[in-house]
Symmetry: D2
Subunit: 368 residues, 4 copies
């Protein structure tokens, strides 16, 4: 065993000639908890991002039965907190991280079940690809969850879920767990074992105050870091997308590109992203649409909401259907195409990069 | 008459003894275009704002007939540009300024008439207290105007109006004309004599893109100084206010104070005010409500939209009814009260003061 | 006397034909405190800013003797507060306003005299074109005033001045008095009749904390609306300008234009303007330099600090010397030229326009 | 081998009873790249941050000789780029990461040597604990490096170093390499093999333009994400700290706490941190000073610049001397104490947390 210093094959030509003195120096480095740049630079400072996370697609038709089986075998309660099953990116060593920064899980609640109340610094949201019957209760405000709804919930707010219906319900949770875990920023606190209200209103109080276009209640007139609106309903999202495509059909400019409509969910107090670390969007491709190839610094996850399409991420290519989720690692080129129309929910970590001035995309012609 | 230096009565005791030498110095000041502080300080630096503008109320039942008569006698066209009749605050020397910073006018359009296209740096809006049938066309986007609608239009955008209907229509224009006139910031440009589209859609393109709660089209993802949303419809405003009062009735905190609901119109790209110089709000008082007395730096105008109420501004007190407008000068205390319920539209110059860190209100216990 | 409605000559062609009915309508307008737009639009909405303020130059050799005479004849004390003599723009009706928004005055203090302590919402600064010996005491911090120093002092801070020396001292005060007077934003409060410290340190505490390039004390790590630094010393300003010209001489790009160096005084907590309503800069022209003609929305005042130059503002042209002050009204073209070198202090109201998105300059090719 | 699902000991009590069905489900999870929350939550969502990084101190008297030896054995040149030896936190698996987000290395340049020109998205700085003779050339601007100087250099700017002297020189590099590596945000580009200028001015052009307190050149009047000032000289830092302690001795409030002075290096265009991801500060403890215990979300590194002190981080305690570096992981309590006086340079990742609203400190009484 000559040297503890790891040298990547691609860097071999750059390395100093190994001599006994150098080997001894390298051993000294190891003893003293030091690592030279010149042996690591190929890995640490590549010409462009080389994500360890891999493009991957998870099938809804696989996920949902497993969640159902977990519903039979695994109780939900204090300690485990949630019957949530996370996507583990194959490039990330078996950790429950769909990308280095993001968590995506299917969560499942049996009829009449409660997921206990807690709070944590992680920013979170739920997105419902099918089903209904569960209310998530955020700071005492019960928020109905229905197909197509996007339900953000900023860090450090109390929340629990309860299923008011006689059927089970599954949905998707997205959080910045991996990022906060990496950055050692996590705080967590237990609340009551059951949610503190059994009310099941169609609209949460947050919506009654905030879900009026362009209007803000005078209750709070300062910006808040995360959105005070706890539900973005499918009917609004669907209408916004339909209007964009209708305008394009009438001859006005397309929103993103021909046949491609999209909305970003925003914090009405700032116009910016709903959550400090997470961006969420909904994309609709008209029948016969292909998107231009694009790559971006930062990672994201798509879930097919409706329709069928061909997805290409890096060297991977899949036909994706309702409920399927796929991960797009940083700087991997991706395209979407559909013959019959495709609706996709998307979330990603773009706010982290934009706020730190590290955002970059292929649109800028930069980098690659 | 010896001295040109004006001395306010209240300052007399502070003035230096008049001598021939002092009189000669004062004459020298006048010749050299100089004015001493010590003779002016009482006017220039009062202990608290002493607005020259006066509290005043204009009756809709007076305004509307005059506008109708102007509709008979005064053509609308290039040069005069608009058949608009402005409120002239009695404290401001006959100028068409409802307050030092704000313009408020009733505008009137006969059936099938056009108001020609132009653009100007002044920020503007329209508010409709009754009637319909006119479309304002902003940068080619026709925007229907109906009772209860608020229609902002940022400076330097092309706009004209046309009346598609067989009846006349009147509405209120609000602008920052006095402020920009004072500050010498005004640019103005003529466009075509007629609006460039005769379309009469129920919804403008701006609404189809932007009037979805919490959603922004990916067309533009940067903040804009003024709102891209050209119409804030009554149905949304009404629902938002009704929900606030309903929540209060259910036991949740009132938005402003007991019985007092209010929304602010906002720029969805920032969450801030719709226009860089103008704030707009809608207030609803439930039957039997009196507001707490309040004073603020900066001026504003209210228009009663519905109901009847008692209004007190400074030493003035009026019973105000539908369509009536009243001005609240800077730092004048004001209260609203109603036995049967009162809906009011409000606009003011608060963004000017907030952006310059000159805002202050009686809530802060400051000043007075 | 037929009609109370004022019609500008230039608008005459646009006016409706006068008939008895129209005259009666116009009389009705007057009675009801209404003014039509169509008779006023020429004045209110010109194609480009038509400032009432006029270009004007005040000679230091006139100002200073008058201030000296005031020093003999007018005591300084409570009530009058300051022995300050303000420049009254000839276009502004005899008011002590150098432009619509700005106040500029020469202030004069006899040996051992005090100007009493007060505070006001107006933002203020002092600039010293010659002399020394006075300390301005801001919130208890004594700040020496010397030739070339710029001494900002944000609204609502206590301040008084005292002359420690055996000679008199004169300097320039700049404030936003006219703006706050116009906008009814003024609060004022008396403090002690004498300043609360007789200390005469060379450096104020604010400088000891804040005048280190790029460094901020951890005392305060949040932005403040106005600068916490109470003195910008001539030695720093002079060196910064000398370096800019030296760099240009070494072949690097000129800061503003060939031969023209300039610095802006900034708030170190934001990098922005020193005061919310006032911008301050210092400009140096090398011998043989002429500036490009420029116009800007907003007004400013220059004071010659050193050297001699030819100044053109609108249709006016002067040879300006040390101490001379001249006003540049909004959108008036101006140029500076010097054969032997020229140093100028400048202050203006640009922050008002930038924060309200009303700034515009001839550089943008806009407007005119 | 029963189950692939990893279960932390502390969570064992929360886990569902293992049955053949559950084991099969767990095997299915593994096959499908899924991981349940309930087995991971203890690690992922602790009650407060549990940093993997450990408190650790590296001795300058160890580092410097190793760097010198590397100077003999390892050439510096294209490919390896820099003779930099990084501190590898013992909790981070041998990676050259001093904390999860930060890189700290000693860099060494022999007499007359060049480190080749390159650029990268990583934000960087150098800090000089001793020595001189090297110029770092940033975008063609040669910047002298001397004891006590802090030299930031924003991402994506060209830079190389050259040693003009006859002696070697060592200094500290700080970068956000681990963060950008984690987040897959890295771009890198090679420039020339030698720096493009051999000039050795005492002051860089950036300083000649920007190092004047409170003054900005009119060259650029917009905020930039990172500082344009390339050197913060020791003389300024030292004077700022001396003044803070002198003011405290005169009876004014201490900057941080009794006996503890500190400055933050700032971007003069914003007043905020010098780099988007890195905060840098300098702290001075007077003789006989102990700091209050403090903990913060986010990690940092201190280097002793002068003096000797007792450092406590978490359960570790060291006597630290000139040049010694120690890491403070997230939420680890730390205190500093000195009998004879202590000067410390500090850098950390606080901007990441503040911009994402994840900052928290023990001062807020939050968390544990």
């Amino acid at each position: 065993m000559d040297s503890p210093v790891r040298i990547a094959a691609t860097d071999a030509h750059d390395q100093p000639v190994r001599t006994p003195d150098l080997d001894e120096l390298y051993r000294g480095f190891e003893t003293e908890l030091l690592v030279p740049l010149w042996t690591e630079i190929g890995d640490l400072m590549p010409a462009r991002p080389v994500a360890k996370a891999l493009p991957h697609l998870w099938r809804w038709r696989t996920l949902l039965p497993m969640a159902e089986q977990a519903g039979e075998l695994v109780p939900v309660g204090r300690g485990g907190e949630r019957r949530a099953i996370a996507l583990a990116n194959p490039g990330l060593g078996g950790r429950p991280f769909v990308t280095p920064t993001l968590w995506a899980a299917i969560q499942y609640l049996n009829p009449r079940e409660d997921a206990p109340v807690h709070r944590h610094t992680q920013n979170a949201f739920r997105f419902v690809v099918e089903g209904e019957g569960v209310w998530t209760v955020v700071d005492g405000d019960p928020v109905a969850m229905r197909r197509g709804d996007f339900l953000p919930q900023a860090g450090w707010h109390w929340h629990g879920h309860h299923n008011r219906s006689d059927g089970p319900m599954a949905w998707i949770d997205g959080l910045d767990i991996p990022f906060q875990h990496y950055a050692d920023a996590t705080f967590f606190e237990f609340g009551p074992d059951e949610v503190d209200t059994r009310q099941d209103p169609a609209l949460s109080r947050s919506e009654r105050l905030w879900a009026h276009p362009g209007l803000r209640p005078l209750t709070h007139v300062r910006p808040t870091p995360a959105t005070p609106l706890l539900a973005y309903r499918w009917e609004h999202t669907d209408r916004a997308l339909a209007e964009q495509l209708a305008l394009e059909a009438e001859g006005y400019p397309a929103t993103v590109e021909p046949g491609h409509a999209a909305v970003r969910y925003t914090n009405p107090t700032t116009g910016g992203d709903v959550l400090p670390t997470i961006r969420a969007e909904f994309h609709r491709l008209a029948a016969g649409t292909s998107t231009r190839q694009r790559r971006e610094v930062g990672s994201c996850v798509f879930q097919v909401f409706d329709g069928t399409g061909e997805v290409t991420v890096g060297a991977e290519r899949w036909t994706a259907e309702r409920g399927d989720l796929f991960a797009v690692p940083s700087w991997q080129p991706f395209t979407l195409a559909t013959e019959t129309g495709l609706d996709l929910f998307r979330f990603g970590d773009a706010p982290i990069f934009e706020r730190l001035h590290l955002d970059r995309s292929s649109d800028e012609g930069a980098g690659t």
